[in-house]
């Protein structure tokens, strides 16, 4: 399994218990939509050479993935946030691609966990 799609079980289960089964599903759906938009936003911001927007999208990606316990995914998003803040958008292509590639597996893992 791609480490980027790994989810810390304790974090997820705590959240599931607090939110309830139906609501956690709603949240996972929301995350899947938002994360996809944010990754598209990262690519666009890189293309536009807009480090502020880039770091803001990376910040959101980090924050929301942490909520579910997607720690490695969040770490990479944090790295991108810092690179964006430093204005180093020419060094981010590979990491953005990594996040993008990890999304489907992460989404699937989260959806599966909702029913475990």
């Amino acid at each position: 399994m791609d480490p980027l799609s790994e989810v810390n079980l304790a974090t997820f289960q705590d959240l599931q218990q607090a939110m309830g089964d139906d609501y956690i599903e709603e949240m996972v759906d929301a995350f899947c939509q938002d994360a996809s938009s944010l990754i598209a936003g990262l690519k666009q911001a890189q293309q536009d050479a807009d480090p502020l927007t880039f770091s803001r999208h990376a910040h959101s990606l980090k924050s929301t993935s942490l909520t579910f316990g997607a720690l490695a995914f969040a770490d990479l998003a944090r790295e991108l946030e810092h690179l964006g803040k430093a204005g180093c958008l020419d060094e981010v292509t590979a990491q953005v691609a990594q996040l993008d590639a990890a999304c489907s597996a992460l989404f699937a893992r989260l959806k599966a966990l909702c029913h475990e």
Binding site: M27, S63, L66, T67
Partner: protein, 381 residues
């Protein structure tokens, strides 16, 4: 069942998931939650409704958390709303900046349910106590204002205007209410009773004692007693109802407007000041006089004086002569005499105002310590 009171909270965060998580936690605690996705929307929500607490993300598009916090702290209606900032763990520098700018507390994201509840409960409890204190102070201010108006309404609204005499009077309490008073009582046959008194202490207890004393003096004076007779009767009554051991210095005199003679009794109060037609002070006989409310048998100073033509009679409390300046020098008799000398041609009421202004000028930045009370009578006949 959750029985904690419901509060209305505003969650400001540009991330939908953060809003969902915090909203769910807060609603499960019984709170009513509204949401804003950026700073601008937060301000619109605050303008549209009342909130008990704001959970504020720092990094947001359009208007960030710092700007929202600054605006909240500048608007008087929002100033007391507690703001808890929410931020990533590695952004503690931002938290410090927010706390310095008036944030109540902070939480790191992802938000922990237990910490969220603890911080919100603590902030709301502080707000509840602050609100209670503000409401109590407001109520107290309203009651003091009513007391002030009630006390001022006791003072004569219209000054006597007998032929050959002109009256002026002024009372400026050091606090909302004071312990000084004055009164003019028409006794018939062109005679006027003049009273000035000063209750020990200041503030509300002194004001209540003053009101009691005032009623007693008025009742005794209207019964036609002599000045010492009035003071002795007031003393007798006060001794029976003086649980706080307060006392009052007082001067009661009768001005006969036909003869210009002022016959007075003085119970520990300041000696009246008399000025001749040229503004020079006239010396008076002084005997022992003790305040009212302390002893069964007490000494009263009595005298009868003829007001000189174009002369002045000044009755005052110690708020006229005792105020000090930055060098700790009192305004004193000399200060009073100088003002009277220079303004004696003015109407009596204007002389009162000049004396008050001179006391204020003398005191400068030093706050008024004593009630200022003054009665001026000009013998124009």
């Amino acid at each position: 069942m959750n029985e904690s009171p419901q509060y209305r909270l505003l969650v400001v965060d540009d991330d939908r998931l953060n809003r969902m998580v915090m909203g769910r936690y807060l609603e499960s605690e019984g709170h009513s939650v509204a949401y804003a996705v950026n700073g601008r929307e937060a301000i619109q929500q605050l303008q549209a409704g009342q909130f008990d607490l704001v959970l504020l993300d720092i990094e947001m598009p359009e208007m960030n958390g710092y700007q929202v916090l600054e605006e909240i702290r500048q608007v008087p209606a929002w100033r007391d709303i507690p703001v808890i900032v929410t931020t990533a763990l590695e952004e503690l520098e931002s938290v410090v900046r927010c706390i310095e700018n008036g944030a109540e507390d902070y939480l790191t994201k992802p938000v922990n349910r237990v910490l969220l509840k603890a911080r919100i409960d603590a902030s709301l409890e502080k707000k509840r106590l602050r609100d209670q204190q503000t409401a109590f102070l407001h109520q107290l201010e309203q009651e003091m204002e009513l007391a002030r108006k009630t006390q001022l309404s006791i003072l004569p609204e219209i000054l006597p205007n007998p032929p050959g005499f002109e009256f002026g009077a002024l009372m400026i309490p050091a606090r909302a209410v004071g312990g000084d008073f004055y009164e003019f009582i028409e006794l018939g046959e062109s005679r006027w009773g003049l009273v000035i008194g000063d209750v020990s202490d200041k503030g509300l207890p002194a004001a209540l004692f003053m009101t009691l004393t005032y009623s007693l003096v008025r009742a005794q004076a209207e019964s036609g007693k002599s000045p010492p007779g009035v003071l002795r009767e007031v003393n007798r009554h006060l001794l029976g109802m003086n649980a706080l051991n307060m006392f009052v210095t007082m001067l009661y005199g009768i001005l006969d407007c036909n003869t210009g003679v002022f016959t007075y009794a003085r119970a520990g109060h300041l000696v009246p000041s008399i000025f001749d037609g040229h503004g020079a002070p006239v010396s008076l006989p002084i005997n022992l006089g003790q305040p009212i409310g302390l002893f069964d048998a007490f000494e009263i100073d009595t005298a009868a004086i003829q007001l000189p033509p174009n002369g002045l009679l000044v009755l005052s409390s110690d708020g006229l002569t005792e105020p000090v300046n930055l060098n700790n020098q009192q305004f004193g008799e000399a200060g009073m005499q100088a003002v009277v000398q220079s303004s004696r041609q003015l109407p009596a009421q204007e002389i009162c105002q000049r004396l008050w202004q001179a006391v204020q000028d003398h005191s400068g930045p030093i706050e008024q310590q004593d009630d200022f009370t003054l009665v001026v009578v000009k013998h124009t006949g």
